[in-house]
């Protein structure tokens, strides 16, 4: 069975009956490893469409979970269940629950360090006080605003006002959490939450690929939220020094906030400062100081290092990028997509109103960034197959546009690999308006192609 990967979570959705016989057919170690190889934060099994399960059936999944945890530290567990199923799992495993349970996949997203929609108001409740606190801490680390209900009565009262919260996290249990460093994006700054003792393990826990991709797509300010760091050793010191040196090539700024040097030698601070790392007491000292933000480079997400011209190899492969886009749009809309015009220029968008965009980076034998700019209504049409309902929910449309551009990225990867060109793709990024897109690409030149389907026009832009 294949997992669907979204927001850093690989999700398996078996249907029907789970017992010892069926579970091993639903999920194999190969399925799990293929998903883990996609660098996911969590691997979950949805019980939404499972009408029956027993302990033998779940045991098979849990054995696979423990193997994957040993290897890549991802959070593992189940999601999408009702109270009856939640209680059944607790009864089966009692105090041996070493995996996590999330009431819904949307609740699980809140705990994923790759989830890009932060600042959600989340009502948290668990009968277990330590679970309540653990959930609140994790949510806070991921950039959300947890509101804890201390008693069942308080939870009932608060949850009756559903409109007051973006999400309600009850019937949720945090087992062994993933060891990855929580990452969140605030404006044009990326904030990493680090804690406890920092040693050689930091290089395993830190998602360097994500960091490099962020540099590639234009982020320049990286803040390490270090309030909960107890101490660091020389291995961690070397890691951060190297990170600062490599970031310097991009003119990136790396800051530490709240770092306490009571148990770490002060000379480490000097070494880090020499490497270009800045220290602040509070995160708000940075985020609420516009002038400082500008100086640190977060007022613009422009990528100065990689402001490069379109090269010959990219132009040679251009038809494959266009083919991948055209094929995807045709697949999604069942209509013919037509190339109207193509020019090498800085991106030109005549009318900026009501337009949204999505981009995906690729790197490897070739590197660059593909951007699709749609009028909002046209984006909705292009995503109809994925959305499946009539909606004006901009967050949903943007989310779906990211899925669409991800499919385009997948097709590009396949088409290029047919030519023995190996590339990997980054996570897609979306822009709710043209200005936020222009902030990233600025005046970079690229190939702009006007495409249309059913007479609906949209822009394809390929740049480096």
């Amino acid at each position: 069975m294949r997992a669907v990967v979204k927001n850093g979570i690989g999700l398996f959705t078996p249907q029907g009956f789970l017992d010892a016989n069926s579970s091993s057919s639903f999920l194999s170690i190969d399925d799990i490893e293929a998903t883990a190889a996609l660098d996911v934060d969590m691997i979950l099994v949805s019980l939404k469409r499972v009408v029956f399960f027993n302990k033998n059936g779940l045991d098979i999944f849990i054995k696979l979970f423990s193997k994957v945890r040993q290897k890549n530290q991802a959070t593992v567990g189940f999601c999408d269940y009702d109270e009856r199923k939640y209680k059944a799992i607790h009864t089966f495993y009692q105090d041996k629950l070493n995996f996590s349970l999330y009431k819904t996949i949307d609740v699980a997203y809140l705990f994923s360090s790759s989830f890009q929609n932060q600042n959600k108001n989340v009502l948290v409740y668990s009968e277990d006080r330590s679970q309540r606190s653990a959930m609140a801490i994790e949510l806070h680390d991921n950039g959300h605003n947890p509101i804890i209900a201390q008693t069942k009565e308080e939870f009932k009262e608060k949850s009756s006002n559903k409109a007051a919260y973006d999400a309600i996290a009850d019937l949720t249990y945090l087992g062994q959490m993933g060891q990855k460093i929580a990452t969140r994006v605030t404006g044009n700054a990326i904030i990493y939450s680090i804690s406890s003792y920092l040693d050689a393990e930091i290089s395993n826990k830190f998602n360097i690929q994500y960091h490099n991709n962020s540099l590639n797509v234009g982020f320049r300010l990286f803040v390490f939220d270090a309030y909960k760091v107890i101490s660091m050793n020389v291995h961690a010191l070397n890691f951060f020094s190297k990170l600062a040196s490599s970031g310097a090539e991009y003119n990136a700024s790396i800051c530490f906030v709240g770092m306490n040097f009571d148990k770490t030698t002060e000379t480490f601070k000097d070494t880090l400062e020499d490497a270009g790392i800045l220290f602040y007491d509070n995160i708000d000292d940075i985020l609420k100081n516009k002038q400082l933000l500008q100086e640190l480079g977060a007022s613009s997400a422009a990528n100065t290092k990689s402001k490069r011209v379109i090269n010959k190899q990219t132009v040679t492969e251009l038809p494959r990028f266009i083919d991948a886009t055209v094929a995807t749009i045709e697949m999604m809309t069942n209509s013919k997509a037509i190339k109207q015009s193509a020019e090498v220029q800085a991106i030109g968008i005549k009318d900026k109103t009501d337009k949204i965009a999505s981009s995906i980076g690729y790197y490897g034998d070739l590197d660059g960034m593909l951007i699709l700019v749609f009028p909002k209504g046209i984006a909705k049409k292009a995503c109809e197959l994925l959305i499946g309902e009539n909606t004006d929910d901009v967050e949903l449309i943007l989310d779906t546009l990211a899925e669409l551009v991800n499919i385009v990225g997948g097709k590009i990867k396949t088409l290029l690999s047919d030519q023995n060109i190996s590339v990997d793709i980054t996570l897609p990024r979306t822009y709710s308006n043209v200005d936020s897109l222009l902030e990233v690409i600025q005046d970079r030149k690229g190939v702009q192609v006007e495409l249309s389907f059913n007479d609906d026009k949209f822009i394809f832009f390929l740049t480096r």
């Binding site: 249907q15 029907g16 789970l18 499972v50 029956f52 697949m331 994925l386 991800n406």
Partner: protein
Amino acid sequence: MITKDKIDEYIEKIPPAPKALRETLSLLNDGELIKASKIAQSDLALAKYLKNLVNKPIYGFSNEITDISQIFGILGVSSSQQTIYNYMTTLLSPSKWVLFGLNTKSFHELQARLSKKWEMILKHLNIEDKNITSSITLLPASIIVAEALFCEKIEDVELLRSTKQLDYNTILTRLCGLGIFDICEQIATKWEMPKEIGEIIQASSGLKPSPNEIINTLAKWMHLLLFYELSQPIFIEAGLNDFVDFQIDFVDDIYDDFARFMEIE
């Protein structure tokens, strides 16, 4: 990816029920088992299919049965009709399965399991109706339809399904406004199957409940039976478990009865 024209073309290409089958069904309908068996005997492919099917372990016969009149005699009118319809469904199946990891043997196995258990369910529900007995035979046609329409689009479908959890029925409905079960209903019409067969199959999708309460109840049992079978390792490994969405809420009110009947712990 798949257009309404392609679906129309597919339905257009489905041949009408062969004459020998129509005659066999007509005689069975009149209760003429001996005459029906003689006609069936003349169609060698049908005769071979009948022998293979009823000699599967799930039918529980201790000795091999090779004579068609004996087969019809043992099965009776309802089950004989059901078996003929099962054979008709196999006429649609591909010589080589590409999308799903099935072959002739495993597809026949699915037909046999569904048919036999459906008979037992009807007995449990105190329903004796040969058309309702036969309605289960069209359910595997939904798998054949998905195979036929999507087999040339495997890469596209895989890419799509790696991004979003979409079943084949949803993809088809969103692209063409026509789902797999709508196509099955059209096949039933083309083969001049009794009307309730098409109605039960349509409702068994769990997406278009019938206003007829009896048909709806039967559809729930059929939906749950389908996913009971699609949870068997052989069919999970064939990639059938999620070819259509399991509508868990649709079967909620009959689940306990089903679980008792199937002796699920």
